[in-house]
Amino acid sequence: MPQPCEDAGRGAAQTRENARELMAPASPTPPAARRSLCVGMATHGDFDGVWFTIQALRMYHPEATDDLSFVVVDNDPGGATATALREIGNWVARYRYVPFGGFSGTAVRDLVFRETDADVVCCLDSHVLLAPGALAALRDFFDAHPDSPDLVQGPMLHDNLELGRAVTHLEPTWGAGMYGQWARDDRLDEPGCEPFEIAMHGLGLFACRRGAWPGLNPRLRGFGAEEGYLHELVRRRGGRVLCHPRIAWAHRFSRPFGIPYPNRWEDRIRNYLVAWGELGWDVAPIEEHYLEMLGSQMDVAGLVARVRGQVEHPLSVLDAVFCLANGACDAHAHPSAIAWRVEHREPDPALEGEPRRLAAWHDALVAARARDYRHVLLLDQESGPEALAAIAPQDLERPWDLCLLTSASPAVAPAAPAFVTAGKLALSGLAVAVHAGAFDRVLADLGADEAGRHAFLARWPDVETYLLQGMRDGLFTAIGEPFAEPAVDRPAASPGLELVEHAAGLSVRQGSPAREHELNNTASIVLALCDGKRTVAGIAEEMAASFALATPPLAEVSACVSGLRRAGILLARSSSM
């Protein structure tokens, strides 16, 4: 039955009363978890600067340092202050010391982002002091923009510490050997100024979400070239470069005793070529600037040509070159094509023999994966390839897991019986590059600890056997000189060979130079098939047919052909073609 109007009116009034109650301000929900923040620094043994920066943050920014963590990458880990830098962790919570001597340069700051798990990373030069409230402003920005792809910077105070004379950005012009000249944006003077977009800035302070970090080109060495380059990388990933007016910072007072690391024009020019080349920018202004600035003092054209040769060398297509040799690595012992960028990674000295090698490989691949490298060339010796012969750039764009390259000075010279299908000798003289696509698999198989290495060695005697078996079983797609154009490579025996058959294979005698080789049955069959008409692929197919193999043993045949060529039993490839 319908209610009387009066009641209806009362009911409506009641509803409004209720509504008022329902619409009373709700208690706020707890704020989203605060973004964790890491302040990171890459230093070259500058304990004094690191100490001042960290302690100033802790003393003068208490509102923003509750859960602040620190990462310090020490690029002079054998230096006078390494111990003191490490021991900062004794009195600063959430402090991580990362010694890194693999190579030297300002791009080492890339490691700051790899060595922290914080949501937001603020990378500082050591000895930078932040204006009061700057760290809180930084946190507030990223709390308010939790998915920001932006790179956040702030006004740089000169030694006079006056915000009214601070610089906000770098203009994209050349000066004094640097791309970028200090400038000030008038927007900083506006009342209530909000963060505004800038083209580029000095890198004494910059911050971004760790997930938005674009990474720096792994070929950068020595000082410079990141300004402008990093900013463009951020923009190409959809981010902005911002100058936040409340994140002012003061750079260290001028260093009375100079910088302790080399600051060479050669490095700087090469870095610009690397960075700008990656971006596809016109590199002509680089040479023009250095010619104008240094032309009267040095052969700039020659210097540019030399570093351009390094940058554009075919081997430079590989993201990184790690030397895993025991003891100190003499970069000069590596071929010049790679010497300028070899990173030495010291194997665990507590281990010996193959376990040490496995650990070195594991450590190297973990580092390569953490740094998002696309591929890494691993050298067990102070040697390495001099060329990327027989591999076209497009080959590297196709899917591959392993790339085998002839090393300039093979660690183990092929010796009889050399051409076995497993074990060290089959890959002797070859350096191995591993593609990022294979990092996880190889790392899982190598084992991260003693138990893992033990399990590995129970299955395979060494890394080479493991890799070869993986190639044979189709787990790894291999490219490289042994497999170069296997469909057109038609190997042929050298003239004047004397072949003597015996039960285990063949004895091969050469006249000049006088040598005798003992080949096992497999190598003997391969040699017999190398008639200058069959291709390497064809030989592999014939082998598969003869021995009822599921897949042609292309990797093994290629390796065998390569070894027979090195021994002089087969004609060199150019001769046979």
Binding site: R58, M59, Y60, L161, F253, S254, P256, F257
Partner: protein
Amino acid sequence: VTREALPRGTATADPRRSPTLCVAIVTSGDLDGVGATVQAIRLYHEEIAGRVSFLVVDRRPEGVAAGTAEALAGANPMLRYLPSPGADEGAARDLLMRATDADIVCWLDDRALVAAGGLAAILDWFRAHPGSRDLMQGPQLDDGLVHGAPAQPAPFQLEIEQPGLLACRRDAALEPGAGRRVLCHPAAAWIKRPDANPFACFEAIFCLNLDRETERWREASRRHARLGITSRVERFPGVATPDNPHRGIAVAYRRMVAAAQRRGYEHLLVLEDDAVFLDDTLAVLASAAVELPGHAWDLCYLGACVWSQAFPFLGTSTVLQACGPVTCTHAIAVHARAYDRLLAEIPTAADELERWLEEHLAIDQYLSRRIRDGTYRAVITSPRVASQPNLLHFDDGDGALAARYVI
């Protein structure tokens, strides 16, 4: 009551006027630390901006790169840089007092950070106590930013004066100290940057180098840089005596010891410009630095020609040995305990020096003889972290470790 009827009195300081503060820093060439200390005060103590000035007395301006001092002062018009080579602590303070007209002077370590509000708290206290002759200090924080002072807001009295941060009225600083209190203001906490380099265990380092030997100095500087001691090493000009180099060396050693005594150094490390160093010098010296204060030494050899002698380790030490008679002087630290005797026994007069040379031949022979007769208590590092090129070729020298002297 008319205006004229008011009694006339002498003017007194306006208690509402904030006193001015001079932060006075005495350094021995560490302008890097001074720069950070000053900049931190300017950046984080904004409430005293306009009331603070800085005075920097540099007792070792010789080692400072050209332009650094000017840049320091140029960036801050309220800062004065006063080079005062070789000034001892008293002379430096005297210089500071004469150079400022601030109401309050606060001596501060040359590599310190003062807690936010700390300097303002000191000024406030002196404003509230305009006639005070007291000394005001602050508790020193450890690296964890913790101090052991009582948790109370008001200043409390200390038994003795501490180094680091010390403030007082300028006019009171010039008065005799008797009767004044030493107070500690909890708000004025401060922290001092530790010295990370183990060579800091020696208060000063001189490197002996003849003026004409510029290439040797360049090489020595390169080695100092690798050891991280560039800023600590003061080049000390050698004395060229071509007819008898031993005379020049003896004269120079005496001058260095005299300078160390005059400047009040507790110990002095003397390096010769051809000293080379072991690959793990810093690690060995770091251990030695911990142990040295526990021994009563007069001479500490970082290297020497030991003539195949083997020395016993000191107690449980693994890096310090009791040193017997040795020769060479390429790396010896001298403790203040030995200054008087050295200065007394190495003559200055030419004829006396000639007789001394006839008796001892050279400074290293003299030291060796005095170690043998027990006059000087000598210690030596093991391994010997410093050597000389000529010692690397001899088995009874440093031949055994020759390949490791790579610095």
